[in-house]
Subunit: 139 residues, 3 copies
């Protein structure tokens, strides 16, 4: 459910970087969500296919995040989430002089399935089982 789509130029991130980012992104959620809920997709572009301000650029990373299972309801929770995202991403972006931009959209929980199953309610026993077993199952 948290789906992170990371758009970057081909040379920005090595396979090791991607592994590191994916692990850190997953750790943002893994205290309260099943780990397998967290997907990270790396979309690699040629520099000639990314434009910022009308100019082709090789120093820009764009991150789009879809949240479904949980919403960020208060200012405090939003700030905490954005800070966590920055903590994860800065070593791979700011520290390397890459510009980056991130946005989150929250999509409807009742229009979401995993393996064809509507995931169990937040904090339900079934969700705890999914988290423990790290996989979807009938409930």
């Amino acid at each position: 459910m948290p789906l992170w789509e990371i758009f970057h130029t081909r040379d920005a991130f090595s396979a090791q970087d991607q592994q590191g980012i994916a692990e850190s992104v997953t750790s943002i959620y893994s205290t309260f969500l099943p780990k397998f809920y967290v997907s990270v997709l790396f979309s690699e572009f040629a520099a000639s296919n990314i434009y910022v301000g009308g100019e082709p650029t090789s120093d820009f990373v764009r991150i789009k995040i879809d949240h479904i299972a949980r919403s960020l309801d208060t200012d405090e929770v939003k700030e905490r989430f954005l800070n966590a995202a920055t903590r994860v991403l800065a070593p791979y972006t700011t520290s390397r002089a890459l510009r980056w931009e991130l946005s989150v959209v929250e999509t409807p929980r009742d229009l979401w399935t995993i393996n064809g199953i509507v995931p169990p309610p937040s904090n339900s026993e079934a969700e705890k089982k999914w988290k423990l077993e790290n996989r979807a199952s009938a409930y």
Copy 2:
């Protein structure tokens, strides 16, 4: 308007699979929408570019769906839609031991154009004409 973005590893679907999926997806909508409203994009990834739960994976398919022309207003309609999606996708995923996850977002109808034309209202005469001719035209 229904836009299905299907993210999958390069070897998950053959051209024939993609054709089959696209036809079945279109059939979900074709009783009530112009067929050309239905777009399906297959985004192929290297397994090293898709992470689930922090691990690179080659057995995962992620589907993002944008609905514009119609919204799913009742629990019954939502369930029927999700069941239809499962019926279409299961033979290409569950039956092949691929994990998959699907989410839908509904976007504003008045911020939508086809060939620069704001599509006609739901169930209007103009929409019927678009459906019959399977193409957009001035109205």
Copy 3:
């Protein structure tokens, strides 16, 4: 913040076309937004990976737009935006007998960061500075 994702077949747009589109898209916003807020990503597909109405197609361009910094609040503003988008895209699509479809989604301003910084409020002094300098900075 305006993020334009343009999905097209590999041969639809040359590097020069992409440059032209990106510049024109940027000009839609550059009177009121920092230029570097505008990102355009060109996602190139094989014709066999794009289906419209269940058929693989090489004459279709799909544009997804995320708006964050400003929302289109009135019918008049929406119409003006859609007309501007058509003016930018028609020479590269309609004039070349390509079909195209565009949709906009507005995502929450308070779940958005650039270089880890929540961008300054609309029309604030800080936003004016960002616009003038065409880059993000602490404020």
